[in-house]
Symmetry: C2
Subunit: 776 residues, 2 copies
């Protein structure tokens, strides 16, 4: 095992490898595609275990209340009901049944209080899921309602406190400053300081201050969440649609007080994740239920239940920017409130990791960032494709455009002037390397024909255009381990805990291993995550897999290759001999294995909590730029994206075909957040549209006719094969580009998402001082 | 990866390991015991897959015939029948559907001919196994009967030839001399030559010549054979009760023309194996069926069907020995005929590997051994606990006793005089090391109080006693690979393809890994064989696992330990730091793995075919000595073993508790072969007792009241922790000791197994020149 942080372009040049054996850079269909279309791909939803019970969850109907009592007798008496479980039962086997990646604040079932509508209160177990569901109606819960708080800014100065006590997870290093703090809704207040912001504002030619808001939305993976727990004598197996099997193992082991090797966590193919299936979700409940009844238990959510399980943070972002009359940004103050809902989940880390980029991809001498993770009485928010960056970009790119317009500068020129360049320092002190910001901006402008005449449409259907650019630091510091095993016929198996949830990771892993070993990716088998089988990986999140697991796979393959070469020489064969030549010679028959192990962690630092400063805050920056042309109906506010261009810097594209679909997929998903999706809560915290008949995600008719995408000609010097991640980059600039295009088309500026026709209509009416229909 | 053949006693001394952390030498209950008694251990018989079809096999009712035609129309038409499969179907997907470890002579289903009663001819597939069984009766097969041969000596000079053409497997190195030979029933004729046997006989004071025979018996694992094949798009998984998953993978891959990594073979816990489940049995049929119908297929044998699937070789052993009047053996000529039945299976290797020990554990200057693997029209014979050694020992120890009696020497003294001693050469040229022959003989004599007065019973119930000693070379050369993985909490998983079939290998593996790593065996998880998960191992056979897999596990654990130490130093911790200290420090959280890999193959040679000579024929010799006291009813011939003593040399006992049960288990199993079991064929090759109502294995009332067992105080210098295997050693001396005791009690000598009361009675009657009842 070894790790190597710095690989030069030459080192990745693969001496002696012919064009035929190069795998990286091929456009290769997903290796699992056939199994998916023939219905043979393994999804946990299809798993049936003997004696398996189905769990259905009774959820809180109120946002904040003391639990006075739960009467389960009628439900227990219902024919077909195997058991009814409350926290009282759970506490018999798990004394501290609270879990979570940043805070141990999520009870397996509500204990004493409920904190949001939809919080799990009790579970019915039955052989028939319909019986379990019916019996839920027979459980009587006595709630003593409490005042609730829903707005993130309001919750920041609390009248209502969601949790009596903060419970930071011991292993979350960034939360030390919370020690001793109990009565607050602020789970994390992270800051970055550079220069003297007050002075910058005082000396500025112009100061702009705006507030931007984003709404709470849901991940909507097409495969809803599911965990099946299978108990053994002194062990447990979790079959779960999880993006982070290694984390689930560790967290379940912690809850049970067991060693890791008594907890087995395995995943199948995932039908989408987008962050919803990260860290620990249903697994703790499934494990507790299975251990209580000593039978396999299946906890499967409906699509609707996911709205109450994990969401994307709503945010409020106050941004104040000092600018010279020439358009140079000289200072920026950012305050961001992240609405985490009632459970921290990974929100504090989102608050930090995205918070430190709040000033955008711009070189600014004076910076102040305050980023607050705030508890409210809403359903939990956590990681969502982009990990908070789409919210940040929405704000800083909206303002960039507003400033450019105010200064009568071309918005592309304004950005180009301020962009961070190679070798310059980010506000955290980190020197920028291999972030192709200027290239991506240039390429998007070129694709949009930015400097050419633009058709502005008709008085009824007005046209406008906009661009946006954002960047994201790769999550740090995280670890990946991979193992490569060659059989005596030369065939290869790769062991990796990266979860293929549609992003094509199996294929990328096979390509990277095959590239090192000189064998076609199609012949390589990639074993799916199973903590009894595949080694540790932090998680499949944040576009980290190509970079981190890519390195681990590369190192494992290189280790295998070195072991093969050593054995070849030992048995008197040339160093270039294949496993199919070496192993039979060594062992006298088709026998044995060549095993290679790769462990990777990049050498960089988390930012210091108090200043946000660090010399080396991330191993790489991912860049995405977006350009849109839209058409707005001036009578109705209806808007249509007619051209949708996205350019990303992902370094080398391991598999250009899959990168292409990642660009489109990410951009379209963000189109949903920008234009359509919104979890609508009433004043009591009741979600009014928790179903797809009322909650609209992009359908085929919402997709722009013209979708262009481009992989910037870039190279990540320290990446495996020059690569870095790409799963999120095309989400970054979408929303602000559309808001910019709306202003470009009809002269109104929206600062809250989503950018719905009624908002456009209202803004246009307000600009014309017209009364709105409902105000007449 | 590295291999180390020579470990000194000191090197295994584990500097710095305290008594508390030493694992080797503990008497530890099997780790899986609880899961077995609670019914939770995984047996393949319990596996239910969605859409799984049940296969039932139509078997040949005749011993040798041309197949004129098969009419499956009525069976196909039966309601509930999914398909009826014959070789015609198989040939569509597998052009050469013949398999086997030594010869590719076993068709998946009979092609053109049948060669023994019970040979699979056709298969019915149905959702309901009873429907499949019923439908078998509707298949009409037209047989054109041929003359058959059943006796191994008769088949050696053939009038009837079983196979038209010999088909040695390309990878079986010992069969090169068969090239070009076709029309013979001799699959292998292996020889050893040393000195001048003719001269020895000419110059001898005494020459003894006898012929000994053993019968065909069955392994009778309490879990009958089962294989379930699960087809995927371009891959297949075999869930199978196999002792050799790595071999099955390679052989299925060869049959299908696929790479190894498209074939996954996994086993559960086995309910006994004893050699019956070795190499490839039902797997090829299950795979072909599943690929033909594209559904999972379960092939599960009844207990009765196993009689027609694999058995223990019947043998005829002609032995001629030259002796001085002082009792020194000066020459020995052995001719052994192994009745392999109609399929070679691993018979040729049994013929060779046991054949070269046919002269026994004695130092003899002039030796000639001829050992013949012979085809007959009986059900196949293969590996059976002891791998042919019990048959050899039966003969050479019977004759040893007969010679001692003729010379009026004490049989212990006769053996002691001739035994091979440390540093002396075996007839193959191999120098004896660490074979505690004299020690085991001394210990068995001591336990039997050999020199004390012995109660000879009454005229009706006469008492006698006997001893026997045998040895076995460990199968050579073979490979084992193991992987050890430490998690960041220090918990440990070991990956090994050794199959735990009741012999306690999981526990031994955990103890050996734990010993190196200094952690209790009970905390270590041993992953069961799965070729997608666990690395290569030749097979679980021939008592090789403790030695070979023991070394691989030791090397893997040492590799992990070295990697851990290196990482500890890298992160500034002492070299003695634990994984739970080092990994969190390295990775900043509970993350990562320490992986160690161990590959082992001992450095020794297969004997040269033409002379049998080799300087280094085996990495170790396993020794077993047996002593019995019996009581014979002189009126009926009924005999009862009243004292049963067994001493083995297994070097260090890794787990004395389990070694103890292995000694008893092996000895009692051989008691069945010696006294009770016999597959009785009629003149047409029909088995008359293929059921446990008629085929008797030892029951509780057959077990001697006094069973003593002893682990000799020995040490295997090149073994892992000083250990070697023990699963077979106590089978060696049982049968001859009983025959010796019979002569000691009632003065008659039996030279054929089993030693049934009627045989004793007949021999006594013959000795008294009395007519037998059926002769009256």
């Amino acid at each position: 095992m070894n790790a190597n942080d710095a690989i030069t372009r030459d080192a990745a040049g693969h001496d002696g490898m012919t064009r035929e054996t190069r795998q990286v850079g091929r456009s290769l269909g997903r290796l699992e595609a056939r199994s998916k279309v023939t219905g043979k791909a393994e999804y946990i939803h299809n798993l049936v275990l003997p004696r398996m019970l189905h769990a259905k969850i009774l959820r809180s109907p109120v946002a904040h209340a003391h639990l006075r009592g739960i009467d389960t007798s009628a439900a227990r008496a219902m024919p077909g009901v195997h058991a009814v479980i409350t926290s009282e039962d759970v506490l018999r086997i798990i004394p501290e049944p609270y879990f979570g990646p940043a805070f141990h604040d999520q009870p397996i079932l509500a204990i004493g209080k409920v904190h949001y509508v939809g919080e799990p209160v009790a579970v019915v177990l039955a052989d028939d899921p319909h019986v379990a569901e019916e019996a839920l109606h027979l459980i009587v819960v006595d709630y003593d309602e409490l005042p609730a708080v829903f707005d993130e800014v309001e919750a920041w100065s609390p009248d209502v406190v969601v949790h009596d006590r903060l419970k930071p997870a011991g292993t979350f290093p960034d939360l030390k400053h919370l020690e001793g703090r109990t009565q607050t809704n602020v789970a994390l207040d992270f800051r970055v300081r550079k220069g003297d912001v007050a002075k910058a504002f005082a000396e500025a030619d112009h100061v702009f201050e705006h507030t931007f808001r984003t709404q709470q939305v849901m991940h909507t993976p097409l495969e809803p969440m599911i965990s099946v727990a299978e108990p053994f004598d002194d062990a447990i197996t979790l079959h779960t649609a999880s993006q982070s099997p290694s984390f689930v193992r560790i967290e379940i082991a912690r809850l049970l007080g067991w060693p890791e090797n008594k907890v087995r966590v395995r995943t199948g193919i995932l039908g989408g994740g987008f962050g919803a299936k990260l860290y620990i979700k249903l697994e703790a409940l499934a494990a507790a239920l299975a251990l209580l009844v000593r039978r396999p238990v299946r906890v499967a959510l409906t699509m609707e239940e996911q709205f109450f399980t994990i969401t994307k943070h709503a945010t409020t972002f106050r941004m104040k920017t000092a600018v010279t009359r020439e358009g140079q940004i000289t200072g920026r103050e950012c305050e961001v409130w992240w609405n985490g809902g009632a459970v921290a989940d990974i929100g504090p880390r989102v608050t930090q990791k995205s918070g430190f980029t709040a000033t955008g991809p711009y070189e600014i001498d004076n910076v102040s960032i305050d980023s607050y993770a705030v508890y409210t009485n809403l359903p939990p928010a956590g990681a969502f494709r982009g990990f908070g960056i789409p919210q940040m970009v929405w704000a800083y790119e909206s303002q960039a455009d507003m400033i450019a317009r105010a200064l009568k500068m071309d918005p592309v020129a304004f950005r180009r002037k301020n962009l961070l360049r190679e070798g310059r320092a980010h506000p955290t002190g980190t020197i920028m390397h291999d972030a192709a910001l200027t290239l991506c901006l240039d390429r998007i402008a070129d694709r949009m024909k930015w400097d050419a005449p633009f058709d502005r449409g008709t008085p009824k259907l007005r046209r406008g255009r906009g661009i946006g650019i954002g960047f994201k630091a790769c999550v740090a510091p995280t670890t990946s381990v991979a193992i490569v095993n060659l059989s005596a016929d030369g065939s290869c198996i790769v062991y990796s805990s990266t979860v293929d949830m549609g992003q094509g990771s199996d294929t990328a892993i096979a390509m990277m291993a095959g590239d090192v070993l000189g064998i076609p990716a199609e012949t390589i088998k990639v074993i799916h995550p199973d903590t009894d089988v595949t080694p540790y990986d932090m998680a499949t999140l944040g576009s980290r897999s190509t970079f981190h697991m890519g390195h681990a796979v590369r190192l494992a393959a290189e280790d295998a290759k070195a072991n093969l070469e050593a054995l070849a020489l030992q048995v008197g064969l040339p160093a270039t001999a294949t496993a199919a030549q070496v192993l039979p010679k060594k062992y006298g028959m088709q026998a044995g294995n060549i095993v290679g192990v790769g462990s990777y962690i990049p050498t960089y630092k988390s930012p210091d909590h108090d200043t946000g400063q660090s010399e080396n805050i991330t191993p790489n920056w991912m860049v995405g730029a977006c350009g849109v042309e839209i058409e707005v109906d001036t009578e109705t506010g209806q808007l249509k994206v007619i051209r949708f261009e996205n350019v990303v810097d992902c370094g080398t594209a391991i598999n250009p075909l899959v990168v292409d679909t990642q660009i489109s997929g990410a951009a379209i998903m963000q189109l949903g957040s920008a234009l359509l999706e919104d979890m609508e809560f009433d004043a009591q915290g009741q979600l009014r549209n928790a179903s797809f008949s009322e909650y609209k995600i992009p359908g085929i008719h919402d997709i722009p006719n013209v979708i262009g995408r481009e992989i910037a000609d870039a190279y990540q010097s320290n990446g495996p094969f020059g690569a870095k991640g790409v799963g999120e980059s095309a989400t970054f600039g979408v929303a602000s580009a559309i808001a910019e295009a709306i202003e470009d088309a009809v002269g109104v500026r929206l600062t809250s998402l989503p950018l719905r026709p009624e908002a456009v209509y209202r803004a246009m009416a307000a600009a014309r001082n017209e009364p709105l229909p409902d105000e007449e």
